[in-house]
C-alpha cells in the first residue's frame, strides 16, 4: 500500500471494521497467527432495527420470504444502510440458523488472498502456505456465506464464483480435487452492478446468478421517520454499554438529526449517538453533544460529501420538504410560501422524487 500504510479505516468509524482491521494488523504482524474466521458470534452488537417506514418494512417482508428458500439474495444500498445485519437476519430467519454464518468482505484483499479466503488452499499452494487451510465456503457448509462488496471482485474470481454458484463446486487453491458444499449465498454491494455489467467490469452471467432476489435497502435520508426510533434504540443500547443513564434527547437536537442528510446512513447515526453517549453527561442528549457537521445549519449539513449537482439537488429537496412540512403538506400554501407557481413546485416534487 502507498507509503507503507498497512491498512486504512474511514471516519466516521465503523466499530466492526475498526476491530477487524486492528485485529488483523496485530495478528499478522505481531502474533503471526492465522487470521481467524469471523464466525457466528461476532455481532451481538447490532440487531435489525426496522422502524416503521414503508420502504424498510417492504424490504424486511421480502427478506423474510426469501429466507425460507435457498435462493441467492442480493442486497443493494449505500454504505451503512445495514446490509450485513440484513444478511445475518436472513440467515437467522432461515432453517439454516443453527449452522454457521460466515461473512467475507471482498474488498481490500488481493485476488490471491481473497481466493484463498473463499475457497481455501492446499499445503504448499504458494509461498507461505505451510498448512492446508479451509476456505469460508467450506467452513460455512450447511449455513450461509455473506459476500460483502461483491461488486469489487476481480474478473478471474468472478469466473470462479460463477462456476461455484452454478455447480456449488470448487477446488482449493493448489488443489485438484473438486469439493462440493451446501451453502446459501447472500451477496451485497453498494455499486451499481448494472452499470458495471454495461461497462464490462462485471460479468453479466454472474450478475444474473446473484440477482435472483434483489433487495434494496433505502438510505436513511429517505426514511427520516425512522430516525427518532433508531435514535432511541441506539441511546438505550450505548447507555447500557457505557454504563450511563441517557434516557431522552433535546427536541432541538432530535430535529438536527432528522434534518441531517446522513451520507453514512444508519451506521453514521449509530456512531453519532455512541459518541454523544460516551462523551456526554446525560441523562439527556443535548445539542452540544452532537458533531458540528450535524448541528451546523444551512446547506453545508445537507451537502456534505456530495458533488455540485447532487448538492444542489439535496438543497432543493430540503427546501421543498421544509416548506411542505411547515405548511402541513399543502402544495398550494407551500408554493406560495416559496414564491413558486404551484405547477412548478409539483414538477420539482416529481423530478426530485419527493413523496
Amino acid at each position: 500500500m502507498k507509503e507503507g500504510a498497512y491498512d486504512f479505516i474511514l471516519k466516521p468509524f465503523d466499530p466492526k471494521h475498526l476491530e477487524v482491521v486492528v485485529r488483523k494488523a496485530l495478528e499478522r504482524d505481531i502474533l503471526k497467527r492465522e487470521v481467524e474466521v469471523l464466525a457466528q458470534d461476532v455481532d451481538k452488537r447490532y440487531h435489525l432495527v426496522v422502524g416503521k417506514s414503508a420502504r424498510m418494512n417492504e424490504a424486511v417482508e421480502t427478506a423474510k420470504k426469501a429466507a425460507v428458500s435457498k435462493s441467492t439474495v442480493l442486497l443493494l444500498g449505500e454504505s451503512g444502510t445495514g446490509k450485513e445485519i440484513f444478511a445475518r437476519s436472513i440467515h437467522n430467519w432461515s432453517e439454516r440458523k443453527d449452522m454457521p454464518f460466515v461473512a467475507i468482505n471482498c474488498v481490500g484483499l488481493s485476488r490471491e488472498l481473497l481466493e484463498s479466503e473463499l475457497f481455501g488452499h492446499e499445503k504448499g499452494a504458494f509461498t507461505g502456505a505451510h498448512d492446508l487451510k479451509k476456505g469460508k465456503m467450506e467452513l460455512a457448509h450447511g449455513g450461509t456465506v455473506f459476500l460483502d462488496e461483491v461488486g469489487d471482485i476481480s474478473p478471474e474470481l468472478q469466473t470462479k464464483l460463477l462456476r461455484f454458484l452454478q455447480e456449488r463446486e470448487f477446488e482449493r487453491v493448489g488443489g485438484t480435487k473438486s469439493m462440493s458444499v451446501d451453502v446459501r449465498i447472500v451477496a451485497a454491494t453498494n455499486r451499481h452492478l448494472e452499470r458495471a455489467v454495461a461497462d464490462g467490469s462485471f460479468r453479466s452471467d454472474l450478475y444474473y446468478r446473484l440477482n435472483v432476489i434483489p433487495i434494496t435497502l433505502p438510505p436513511l435520508k429517505e426514511r427520516k421517520e425512522d430516525i427518532p426510533p433508531l435514535t432511541q434504540y441506539f441511546m438505550r443500547r450505548f447507555s447500557q454499554e457505557a454504563k450511563k443513564a441517557f434516557s431522552e434527547i433535546d427536541p432541538e437536537a432530535l430535529e438536527k438529526l432528522i434534518n441531517y442528510a446522513w451520507p453514512g446512513n444508519v451506521r453514521e447515526l449509530a456512531n453519532v449517538i455512541e459518541r454523544a453517549v460516551v462523551l456526554g453527561q446525560g441523562p439527556r442528549i443535548e445539542l452540544r453533544d452532537l458533531p458540528s457537521r450535524i448541528v451546523g445549519t444551512g446547506p453545508a449539513a445537507v451537502t456534505a460529501n456530495l458533488s455540485y449537482r447532487r448538492a444542489l439537488e439535496a438543497c432543493r429537496r430540503e427546501i421543498i420538504l421544509r416548506a411542505l412540512s411547515q405548511n402541513a403538506g399543502s402544495r398550494a400554501t407551500a408554493a406560495r410560501a416559496l414564491g413558486l407557481h404551484e405547477k412548478y413546485l409539483a414538477a420539482l416534487i416529481k423530478n426530485l422524487g419527493i413523496e
Binding site: Y6, I9, R33, S79, P263, L279
Partner: protein, 95 residues
C-alpha cells in the same frame, strides 16, 4: 482472540475521535497511547514502542502521510493503519 495488552498508538488531532478510538481499542484489550499530532506521534513511537499505530491522515502541521514517510525513511517498520476522510465516497451515487 484478544489483542492481549498490545500497545497501540492513536494519532488524531480531534479529541473526540481519540476518545472514541480509545474506548474501542480498550474494549479490544489494547493498551492505548495517544498523540495529538505528527510530532508527538514520532516521539511517542520512540518512547513507548507501540506495536501498531492508527494515524489520522489530516492533521494540522505534520500530517499522517508525513509521519509515515518519516518512519519509513528512518527504517521503522511499525505497522500503521491510516484513518482517512469523512465517510464513504465509494458509492457511485454520491460522486
Amino acid at each position: 482472540m484478544e489483542a492481549m495488552g498490545a500497545r497501540v498508538l492513536v494519532v488524531d488531532d480531534d479529541p473526540a475521535s481519540r476518545d472514541l478510538l480509545e474506548v474501542r481499542l480498550s474494549a479490544l484489550k489494547c493498551e492505548v497511547v495517544m498523540a495529538a499530532d505528527g510530532r508527538e506521534a514520532l516521539s511517542a513511537i520512540r518512547r513507548e514502542t507501540p506495536v501498531l499505530a492508527l494515524v489520522d491522515l489530516q492533521m494540522p502541521g505534520m500530517d499522517g502521510m508525513e509521519v509515515l514517510r518519516t518512519l519509513r525513511r528512518d527504517g521503522i517498520s511499525l505497522p500503521v493503519i491510516v484513518i482517512t476522510g469523512t465517510g464513504p465516497s465509494k458509492a457511485p451515487w454520491k460522486r
